[in-house]
Amino acid sequence: MAQTATHAEQQQHPIKLYLVVWGLLFVLSALSYLVDYLELQGYLRWSLILVFMMLKAGLIVAIFMHMAWERLALTYAILLPPLLVLVFVAIMVSESNYTVLTRTMFFGAAP
């Protein structure tokens, strides 16, 4: 009984949806490769890399991994915790700045 219930809850999506997402991922990958190929630099390069990365990650998680159709209780349980990694990133950015500062100050290397 529980088995059949689980199966009934599995949504069927047309194959076309996966092909479209596949194509989009190809386009986004090509665009992020172009960022390097065209030798864009500075904030333009970094922001484009991040935008294409987030779009690709979003498509994979939402469509390929079916997160868009899961219950919110699961979505939040899985997608919110990784955001805390950003706190760790912030801590390590400040730590790296401190390390590079002491290295330049006490070892005299040019930054």
Binding site: H7, S32, F64, A73, I78, P82, F107
Partner: protein, 240 residues
């Protein structure tokens, strides 16, 4: 009997939507992840822990790169290949990206055909996915060989900051291991599908549980995650 009652109850009581629904699902003594089998929920939680593993690797790489006073080697030049006399930047990595994305596409379709109980198409797509995965690992082995012959070591390289080698070998090595294990599991599940295990609900070798096509989706979650990690490695290690 108990399970029947549970299923009916969850069908009878409509849950509120949005955050109120999340609170309702998590509140009181009940099954939190409704409509998700234990296998799928556990795979998601495993993937969450794996996210932290790769998150720590990427943060370690960021810290090394931000805190070194020696210039970082330019990945665009390090990973360039000379094809027909032209030096094309990062081309091997770009091809690897396309291969892995294609494998994710075939995997998603395998899951779809699995739920339609199309035994042959599911098995064929799983085998294609495994083939793409093996191609990816092969190209990575080629890349490692190329870099090692050029003198990249975990403790140094000819172009700049020594941490480049250690970050590269650790991050891509761990990712390659994940892909390799994925390929092994893809082959195991493809064999089970092809043999019709999930049509006749043959019992598993280790677990003695009746198999069904949901295992294809659970394996798919793992495989898409491997692709997902590559998206971040590609952005932060190769492009940045």
């Amino acid at each position: 009997m108990t399970e029947t009652t549970q299923t009916q109850t969850s069908g009878l009581l409509p849950r509120p939507g949005g955050l109120r629904g999340v609170a309702a699902d998590w509140a009181s003594d009940q099954r939190t992840f409704k409509s998700v089998s234990w296998g799928k929920a556990m795979m998601w939680i495993f993937l969450l822990s794996d996210t932290f593993v790769f998150g720590c690797f990427l943060i370690a790489y960021m810290t090394a790169r931000m805190s070194t006073v020696v210039p970082w080697p330019n990945p665009s030049e390090v990973f360039a290949l000379t094809i027909a006399g032209h030096e094309i930047p990062l081309i091997l990595i770009a091809i690897m990206t396309f291969v892995l994305i294609s494998s994710s596409g075939t995997m998603a379709m395998a899951v779809n055909f699995g739920y339609r109980r199309d035994r042959r198409k599911t098995a064929a797509l799983l085998l294609v996915t495994a083939l793409f995965g093996a191609t990816f690992v092969g190209m990575q082995a080629f890349e490692w060989t190329k870099l090692i012959t050029e003198g990249v070591r975990p403790w140094g390289n000819p172009w700049g900051a020594a941490q480049f080698g250690s970050s590269f070998f650790m991050i891509t090595g761990f990712h390659g291991t994940h892909v390799t294990f994925g390929v092994i599991f893809l082959l195991i599940i493809a064999r089970k599908v092809l043999r019709g295990d999930f049509d006749v609900e043959r019992r598993g070798f280790f677990t003695s549980r009746k198999g069904n096509y949901e295992i294809v989706e659970i394996l798919g979650l793992y495989w898409h995650f491997v692709d997902l990690v590559w998206v971040f490695i590609f952005a932060f290690f190769y492009l940045w």
